[in-house]
Symmetry: C2
Subunit: 273 residues, 2 copies
């Protein structure tokens, strides 16, 4: 664990990351001492910092710190948090504040390997995401809605097959998973929810979109209702840690094969090495 | 500064308060070694913890810690943060997690004294608050919207008289100030925005409501549009640090006397001693 380049595991109680959730974060897969898709993660970090008016740390500085983390922890999950920094009382950010850089590490979660090949069970959360265009797409530290949605799911933890909750917006459109982005396959075409009002646009979502473009598969970014999703040929979720999981059960609907999802999963994995 | 009863100014980078804004807070006035309206603050803390499913620390424990803080800092602003605690990776809160208790102190801000008697200038922020009934009323640590609204206001800081920004919801109803609750006086009656969809219900708001009840003044909690507010006889904002400030300028409208607001301010101040 590194805080502003120094080994440590604590931050100031006056850090705005704690006080207001005033910061952004990245969750990366590390494999054999390499952080997968770091350039995409840095681009996204920079975009998210800009959205909040946080001055993004230099890539060279972050790369040097990441190397330190990877030297000790070559395989697993690396988390990078950048907060606006520690400062005086009050919501107004001061101009000369220095961002805080926090690196943490954890082992790769022990997910059943068949979730990637045979699919997962998902359910719809009752919590709805409201529209906040100023924060849409950004992976910021205001994640109470994800916490409450995860707690909802956990209340049903007697069902050990239940692996993800899907979130709707106030208008009933599917937006994302609690910790993932969502795709739909219908008649050979891909669609993924429009995230201009709410949701987090993860880098794995961007990779699927780029892959579709490279392979001549039509992809639409648009509103997707629950009914449409339940009638889709395939549904799958993605994030940087899990990679890609097809959904084999949602509400009353079941799926048993996922040819397009499997093709994309293999395609993405080939880019990982 | 105290963290879990021990003098200190740092918390774990794995505390969910930092990771997800998974916690709540209170801002109290301390005067002559006494925390004003502590019983109301504790009730609100307990309510807010319950709303998030955080187990609220015992009042006796918090009182003992507060006494330690007040012994060193008898006058100023005391901040209490309670987070869900530090735990394993992932949004799902574990059942056996212990909440983190954080106390901090800062001097009373140096506001111009005439703001309390002659009123402040306020403006409408362009950021809109979306409806999230699951978090409405709760003073939680997801405060990025307040930060962005404060930054908007700060961009106009050439105007040193500008003291507060007012926030509308997506439907154009007035909800609150960035750091305050709002009241309107019209024909001797009080009204304050309905906060069942968004906003923070502060304890000073509750005190004004109780005062109105005690003094036979009609008070309505309901939707208030901007047009109605601009036509009101008086507008004022309240919070635990500022007390009560009338608004003397908002958009094109100006006010020069605030008889009801002044009466309430004096009433509240008499309860402070």
């Amino acid at each position: 664990m590194l805080v502003n380049g120094i080994p440590g595991s604590s931050i100031s109680i006056r850090d705005r990351g704690l006080l207001y959730g005033d910061g952004v974060f990245r969750t990366l897969r590390a494999a054999q001492g390499k952080a997968l898709h770091w350039p995409l993660h840095y681009l996204k970090l920079k975009h998210d910092c800009t959205a909040l008016g946080i001055s993004c740390p230099d890539e060279a500085l972050l790369c040097a710190e990441l190397d330190q983390v990877l030297l000790q922890h070559p395989d697993g999950v690396v988390k990078l948090i950048v907060t606006r920094g520690a400062g005086a009382r009050g919501y107004t950010p001061s101009v000369d504040i220095l961002p805080t850089r926090i690196w943490d590490f954890s082992p790769l979660p022990d997910y059943p390997p068949e979730w990637a090949t045979q699919g997962i069970k998902a359910r719809i959360c009752s919590l709805r995401l409201p529209a906040q265009p100023r924060l849409a797409c950004v992976k910021h530290l205001n994640r109470l809605e994800n916490v409450l949605a995860a707690a909802e799911l956990d209340a049903q933890s007697h069902d050990s097959r239940l692996a993800e909750g899907l979130l709707l917006d106030a208008g009933g459109h599917l937006i994302e998973g609690i910790r993932s982005n969502l795709f739909l396959v219908s008649q050979g075409r891909l669609a993924t929810p429009d995230l201009s009002r709410c949701g987090v646009a993860g880098i794995q979502r961007g990779r699927v979109m780029a892959w579709a473009l490279q392979h001549g598969i039509t992809l639409q970014v648009r509103d997707i209702g629950l009914e449409e999703a339940l009638q889709a040929d395939e549904l799958f979720i993605v994030n940087s840690v899990i990679g890609l999981w097809p959904i084999r059960e949602l509400e009353q609907r079941q799926w048993s094969s996922f040819p397009v999802a499997m093709r994309i999963r293999l395609g993405l994995e080939q880019q990982d090495v």
